[in-house]
């Protein structure tokens, strides 16, 4: 009788232990599972928002192209109009390629080192990259226009951009779409906080009338002699 009592008590306690352990484990699994699923759905939402925005922009481009096509079709008999239309398009491409000096509202980021802290090209590259991420439209470092093939290289205590020597402080100018300007500023202040850890003096300010010069036109910057166009 006594043996039976002890045995049953042991059995019940054992069962209780097992059940508590299972309960503990299942709570942990459930937690990690929901973290994973939340991550997954937040990734999906980011993708979805980006794709939707891409589609909106595509639609805008389609509308623009349709309008241009319409103009050419109706002006096909009128050479003067066609020339005017073509001229307008060529001007847009020149602006886009950095062949024109432009003015607009935007962000100015100036960087200098404090004491003997090393100011590296990667710091400037990261600022440029972050600015690009906020959809800026024109960039320059110390008034050297940044185009598709512009490099930023540190050589000793100075930088070369487009093959030209630049001395600190480095003033990075960016013209932004007015709609994006505020978000550009906000994101850039985050970048500034990171750069401060490298003992760099960084300032970000908004300005209404930034002038960004055209790319140097002496045949050394814009080169395409090794490219064969494919139709």
């Amino acid at each position: 009788m006594k043996f039976f009592k002890v045995a049953s008590l042991t059995f019940v306690c054992l069962l209780l232990g097992i059940v508590i352990a299972t309960q503990y484990r299942s709570v942990k699994v459930i937690n990690s599972l929901s973290v994973y699923e939340q991550q997954r759905s937040s990734d999906l939402i980011t993708d979805l928002l980006r794709e939707k925005r891409n589609n909106e922009q595509l639609q805008q481009r389609i509308n623009e192209l349709q309008k241009d096509l319409e103009t050419y079709r109706t002006s096909s008999s009128n050479v003067t109009e066609t020339i005017a239309e073509l001229n307008e398009y060529v001007l847009k491409l020149q602006i886009l390629a950095g062949l024109k000096t432009v003015k607009g509202a935007g962000v100015i980021v100036s960087i200098d080192s404090i004491g003997d802290a090393l100011l590296d090209d990667s710091h400037i590259l990261s600022v440029l990259n972050e600015l690009r991420a906020t959809d800026v439209q024109a960039l320059a470092v110390n008034d050297e226009r940044i185009i598709a093939t512009s490099e930023v290289r540190r050589a000793g205590s100075y930088m070369t951009v487009n093959g030209r020597k630049l001395l600190p402080p480095y003033v990075i100018k960016a013209i932004a779409d007015p709609e994006n300007l505020e978000s550009s500023l906000k994101i850039m202040s985050g970048v500034v906080d990171t750069l401060k850890y490298y003992n760099l003096k960084v300032e970000v300010k908004k300005e209404e009338n930034i002038i960004i010069p055209a790319v140097r036109d002496d045949g050394t910057v814009l080169r395409h002699d090794l490219l064969t166009p494919v139709d």
């Binding site: 599972l33 929901s34 066609t82 020339i83 491409l93 024109k100 494919v230």
Partner: protein
């Protein structure tokens, strides 16, 4: 004695009952939550697929319009108006400078792939970051590259390369590894710039697979103009010098 053991048993069974109820409830709750999240993930995935399909249709639509435009421009070129012929030529040249034209030429192709997973290292050091890509592009630009593309996304002045988790956002699309960078320019200069590149050296230390090859007649595709050109220059006003 009997009351003591009875009261012990009573407490144990009380606990037992509580724990079982808790377990049952948490399982029920978890299942509810899971099905709720799964349906939301499922509906998000379907919506994403739909939006992507729409995007492909829009791209096809745009492609046809672009072809039509080129046809019209070609007709202008065959006319006998010298101003018009000159303008068509300038337009072509501007398209080329902006990267709106696919180009061919000799150069180098770099393939980057994450290091094989090892347990003793911080996984963050085994993957390729946007700063690695930026550094390599910068080395290539310094060595005189005239046209650049990552995973066939043409790099223009305002192209972004952003790290978003294990993938990188280039221009408007997200790409997983491997990253294939194509550069047209002076082959020897590009190749030696990469071989001497500090960033390539460091990546190799971390076992990131960096493969550099010289190649002839590389095709670097054109920049896909997937947004309004007016919008791309909306903030800029031309200043006469």
């Amino acid at each position: 004695m009997a009351t003591r053991s009875k009261s012990i048993l009573f407490v144990i069974f009380l606990l037992f009952g509580m724990v079982i109820t808790m377990q049952l409830r948490s399982i029920l709750l978890a299942q509810q939550q899971k099905s709720k999240e799964q349906t939301s993930i499922q509906s998000l995935s379907t919506e994403l697929e739909q939006v992507k399909t729409e995007g492909l249709e829009l791209q096809e639509n745009l492609r046809m319009l672009e072809e039509e435009m080129e046809e019209i421009i070609k007709r202008f070129d065959s006319g006998d108006n010298p101003t018009l012929n000159e303008l068509v030529k300038t337009r072509k040249n501007m398209q080329l400078i902006n990267g709106f034209t696919s180009v061919r030429g000799d150069g180098v192709v770099i393939t980057l792939n994450d290091a094989p997973a090892r347990t003793e290292v911080d996984p963050n050091e085994l993957i390729i970051h946007d700063s690695d890509i930026t550094a390599i592009l910068n080395d290539l630009k310094a060595a005189g590259a005239q046209a650049l593309a990552i995973n066939d996304e043409r790099i223009i002045a305002t192209s972004k390369q952003l790290c978003t988790g294990p993938t990188i956002l280039i221009n408007k699309s997200r790409y997983p590894v491997p990253y294939i960078i194509k550069a047209i320019g002076d082959q020897e200069a590009l190749y030696s710039a990469l071989e001497q590149s500090e960033s390539v050296f460091i990546m190799r230390i971390y076992n990131i697979r960096v493969d550099i090859r010289k190649e002839k007649d590389i095709l670097v595709p054109r920049f896909k103009v997937y947004e309004s050109i007016d919008k791309m220059i909306s903030g800029m006003e031309v200043v006469d010098k």
